[in-house]
Symmetry: none
Subunit: 195 residues, 4 copies
DNA sequence: GATGAATGAGTATTCATTCAT
DNA sequence: AATGAATGAATACTCATTCAT
């Protein structure tokens, strides 16, 4: 069913694992993890379900592997952040880098945003919470007034919000990205000056 | 098997519909809509699956009915907002009321937050988006600088963030709620003064 | 697909559970537990696989329930044996009754005989071993010479052998049954007289 | 990944076929033929499934080859028995040799004992039945009274029983073996004297 | 106002087997 | 002598839904 010598299959050799991850993430983000069946993934790749199992032991392993691959930059960012002094400048730099990392892994974050209930039960949940806690520890000064702590959380959230909920608002994407960064910068600045 | 005359079942009379909604929402929020089966709901209520079908035509109808019941206050809030002048005071009042409405319907919002992928395909999605667009139209002045628009979106998001992601932070719940409102107020204030 | 009013289905009402057990045991005995699929059982009963799951939670539960139903007589026999004095006469009576019980549950024992590897992993294994140990405790005098102990084990085994491995030998079934009992009687007699 | 030069693999050279048989029999005996997958066998040997197919055409061929290798002594025993006069002494000698052959191929007989349902469908079944029939023809005098015929069957069965069901009984293994032989001897003696 | 019995379509997963390299 | 990649067919099991009673 479909070309033996037409180059399409030729190209597939050796990168099936990657292709599975790509298609899977796309579908998971689109329809949710639970509602996406392995049959669907296989069909879209024009392989059999069993082929998926050659590359991944379970459905969960597929999403976990994607998660691990795509969140590595963020993990490194947090590692970096931990070694810096907890100054305002550091926080601004983290916001800048975090925003970039987010943009890089958009589909994954869309998936996570939209499938939190699933994510929570999927071990991903825990490692992601760990990561977020790491970020929080760098970002939040537990001695500061509550209001300032909330501002910092809000800054991070503004970045996430920027990814998904600004699509409805008109304007050049680059401008929007800049505006989002501005607001986030402002929030941490205010937190630091005790505005 | 399970009290015929012990009053438990007596009490149940007539409010089964309500009890189904309660248990269903609880489970949907906890495990996700897709992963919660009607068998599970029925078992927890100690009735048969078929009984659920006496009260609701489909699984979807259960969640839709919950949604409609629980978002009525927010719909009314938006209705109210639409008739007010788009002043800063109005926005602050909306933030106050929205925050209260959110607190009232916590499980539903937790469910929606965590099952966005599902919600989107469930007609709920559309009517919720309509509502949110209504809120946005009141909140956002499309002539204002992008940064200020983002601030307003961020204000709303801060309220949502406050519900779920502040649990990790120490402090009295009432204080935290107040801090969240403060930050949201600040954001809309700044948006208005062109900070 | 299959009469609605022809009486066949009429008769089925209310005894589906029993029918499942019957067909299942037949197939398990014939082809082995592992090689018998639920599809096969369902097809032979002209119901869907899902119907089986209405009556039994798992495949294992089917065989366990059969086992429990069919070994009750033997359990009762052992109970009875425990209360008797450990005389030769008691043993002869037990042999007589055990042989009868065996004959009654032939398909089950054929199944167990031929699927020991499966049985061992199926919890059935344990409860059956318990039962057999009960029989052994009544049957075997641990102070007697080893040879006599073996004779008693051999007596029980002769009964089992009689069920399955005498089919090849010519002769009237009743005569064969009598001969088997004779040999078993002899073995326990010799064990008692210290032959 | 798995010693290239460490001698382990060096040693493996040329005896993979044998190693497959060993591991396969061990697993078949332990878990049953159906429940043992080629993946499991391959993993335990640290080779790929495909490697098994280099040495054996099918799963069945593995068990058949084991069977043929391990039952050769018994086949020879029967051959020998056929040429002897059908005296009591011959039978005693056969019992002695058969018992020894059984002890030699314990895992195979454990496998056959516990997987009869499988064995029956696996062509092994037939050739084994042929063998057993050969034994029976030597052992059983079809003109003798039924009781004596049963005694002879029982003698063989006692040997088999001895292998598996005497483990529960206390005592020195050698003593138990001797006791088993004694009982078997007795049974054939009685059969001959028309006890 | 609810149950008992059943269905049809689906799910993730496993298996023996194949074949080009 | 063995591997990497894949397949086709099967398996146990689950789910939302239906309907006569």
């Amino acid at each position: 069913m479909g070309g033996t010598m037409d180059g399409t299959k030729q190209q597939r050799r050796g990168n099936t694992r990657q292709r599975i991850q790509d298609v899977a993430l796309e579908l998971f983000a689109e329809q949710g993890y639970e509602k996406t069946s392995l049959r669907e993934i296989a069909e879209r790749l024009d392989v059999t379900k069993a082929a998926l199992y050659y590359h991944f032991k379970t459905k969960e392993e597929i999403i976990v592997s994607i998660f691990q691959d795509l969140t590595k930059p963020i993990e490194e960012l947090i590692e970096w952040g931990r070694e810096q002094p907890h100054t305002l400048d550091t926080k601004r730099e983290i916001i800048r880098r975090y925003s970039a990392a987010l943009a890089e892994a958009t589909p994954l974050f869309r998936f996570m945003q939209e499938n939190q209930a699933t994510v929570r039960e999927l071990q991903i949940g825990d490692s992601f919470k760990d990561r977020m806690r790491g970020l929080r520890d760098i970002f939040i000064d537990t001695d500061a007034p509550l209001t300032d702590q909330v501002r910092c959380v809000s800054a991070i959230f503004t970045l996430h919000a920027g990814m998904f909920f600004l699509q409805d608002i008109e304007g050049d994407p680059e401008d929007k990205r800049a505006a989002v960064l501005d607001v986030a910068f402002d929030l941490v600045s205010q937190a630091h000056h005790g505005a």
